[in-house]
Subunit: 345 residues, 2 copies
DNA sequence: CTGTTAGCGCATTCAG
DNA sequence: CTGAATGCGCTAACAG
């Protein structure tokens, strides 16, 4: 009653009537059933076209069919980091005529463990978990309910599950090693949120590189950040207060690296002459700022695409259990890094 | 058959059975119908809780009810511009327990005029059109189908329809006037995509300010861009080739302003001493770059929120036809602008 | 106040 | 190859 405003619906029945067939037949041509005379199929198709018939997805979903919608659970939408991943997801989805339903963490992380699966009841065929924080909450329920899902960018510390991530460890290692090879010996590191696997891995990569090159790790040269610009600023400021400040600072993401740059400049130090700065992510802005930022590129869009492909694959063939895929990161060398020019290094 | 993997469904019937009532009663407590004995309601609620019952939205939707999902049609997801708007939408939506379905232009802009309405058939209660290009295509059909929608950031040149935008004209005017008052007389302007209402309005604002202050408009000082960084670079380069180059450049968005800055620097000119630069949007990076960018802030998140509120309002009360709302832009003065220091101005 | 019933639009047997 | 009948889970109208 209240929805006189819904689009005037042309149902399978009306098509059937107009095409002089039963609704069963119409259903068959819709679903490309073989058992339809070519001539009949032709006629029905024509009528569907003419009447602008569109299948009602609710009804179809009710029958336990696929909805052709997949859900994505993301932390937020404000960062270009998520944007990159989403773009990949969207691209791949549209290739396969799937639609996207978006959920943000803040709404559901409340406490209900099984809420995800429930909420998603019949609404979506599968779920893409982007950068989940308390991953076990979801994966347990999801696995138990046998609900198809793929995790993006989270190194599961729990049970193995379908996931795609990036080689964060390698990225951290490579960037650090690059700095070392440039001649840096005191390298400050600003972490991301340590509850995220990727943050931990980047830190581990940093440490490994140090170890490999026989550089002792200084606790005062590791600052715990939270991926936000102020953390970068604060971390760099702390480093620069040190009796022996680092000659290079490696921030766990580009946004924090921007904060680092600010802090460095505010002390009238030059980049890279006095301090080299490295970021992580390769967000578009890192190429645009001055000096342009040396950083570790994450294949964000590709991660989105690959994860989507995996999920679609699982949907098609639930038995074949795929596992974790790691996409390579790549060190992008720009102009925020150089050999240390002052003797302190 | 293929979906043994769907979450094990506990239906209204099972709850009814366990609670020793009819399914009708269960439906009533779900929908907060008054005609239920408190004691009964209690018991049924308990059982629902215990069984982790969750309403099947498909079935509910089938009955022509609200789905509690609204759709957003966006051009893409990669820009922080869209991110800002989406954030507002999402925030407001979650306040009202609505979910979000996301569609991107590229998938549907193809050609089918009524595809939007059709696709959306029963899937969503309403539609948010973010920055639509060929707006008439949608609004016509949508209006004809009486499908609730709100347009975000598009000054309709066609029929009036519910919309929220920003005061682009005013923003263009204010920024230009600010430059004029700083002493600039030759001000280059780089437009956005001219098929977008906001781009046209910004240009008009620029022109009006010029006219108000009796500065003749030079055709060679208006460069048509497309909101991408290379356009800013190209536009600025063109300006700087001029016999009498401008002393200030106003780009229709921040991203192009970054391009402008690059071009200026590449000619060894200083910002703002030689050339002042102004952008539009106030994306996060504009505060982070060096020099920080003077720009016109758009209330992106608020636009998302207000539009969502409007849509939800329309959903509740279809008759009251709301109209266009314009949210104010604001000039943010930073360090990329100053009075012209060279005599050429 | 509560139980019963009729569809919503569609896929899917089962008969022809 | 096609038509008729059944039910997915739920709401709403109708009887008690």
């Amino acid at each position: 009653m209240e929805n006189k405003l819904l689009t005037s619906k042309v149902t399978i029945v009306e098509v059937a009537k107009k095409a002089q067939v039963s609704l069963g037949t119409v259903s068959r041509v819709i679903n490309n059933d073989v058992h339809v005379a070519p001539e009949t199929r032709e006629r029905v198709s024509a009528v569907m076209q003419e009447m602008q018939y569109v299948a009602n997805r609710q009804a179809r979903g009710l029958k336990g069919m696929k909805t052709n919608v997949i859900g994505a659970l993301v932390p937020d939408l404000a960062t270009s980091y998520i944007g990159g991943i989403m773009h990949g997801i969207d691209t791949e989805l549209s290739l396969h005529k799937f639609d996207l339903m978006l959920f943000t963490h803040h709404r559901i992380a409340i406490k209900e463990a099984s809420y995800v699966a429930d909420m998603v009841q019949g609404m979506v065929d599968g779920l893409l978990l982007v950068l989940p924080r308390n991953i076990a909450d979801y994966t347990d329920t999801l696995t138990r309910h046998k609900f198809p899902f793929v995790v993006i960018d989270h190194q599961g510390s729990g049970d193995p599950c379908p996931a795609v991530g990036a080689t964060n460890w390698q990225g951290g290692y490579n960037a650090t090693e690059y700095l070392i090879k440039q001649g840096h010996k005191r390298i400050g590191f600003i972490t991301g949120s340590m509850d995220l696997g990727c943050s931990q891995d980047r830190l581990k990569g940093y440490r490994s590189a140090l170890r490999t090159h026989h550089i002792p790790e200084m606790p005062e040269l590791v600052y715990e950040g939270d991926f936000n610009q102020p953390d970068g600023y604060a971390g760099a400021s702390a480093f620069l207060e040190l009796p022996f400040p680092p000659t290079a600072i490696f921030a766990s993401n580009d946004v924090m690296a921007m904060g680092v740059m600010d802090a460095v400049r505010n002390r009238n130090l030059r980049i890279p002459d006095d301090i080299s700065v490295v970021g992580f992510d390769n967000i578009p802005q890192s190429a645009m700022i001055n000096p342009s930022l040396t950083t570790v590129q994450q294949p964000l869009e590709q991660m989105g695409r690959v994860a989507t492909q995996m999920l679609l694959g699982i949907l098609k063939n639930p038995k074949k259990d795929v596992n974790r895929i790691e996409l390579p990161t790549e060190l992008i060398i720009r102009s925020s890094t150089s050999a240390p020019k002052n003797g302190t290094g």
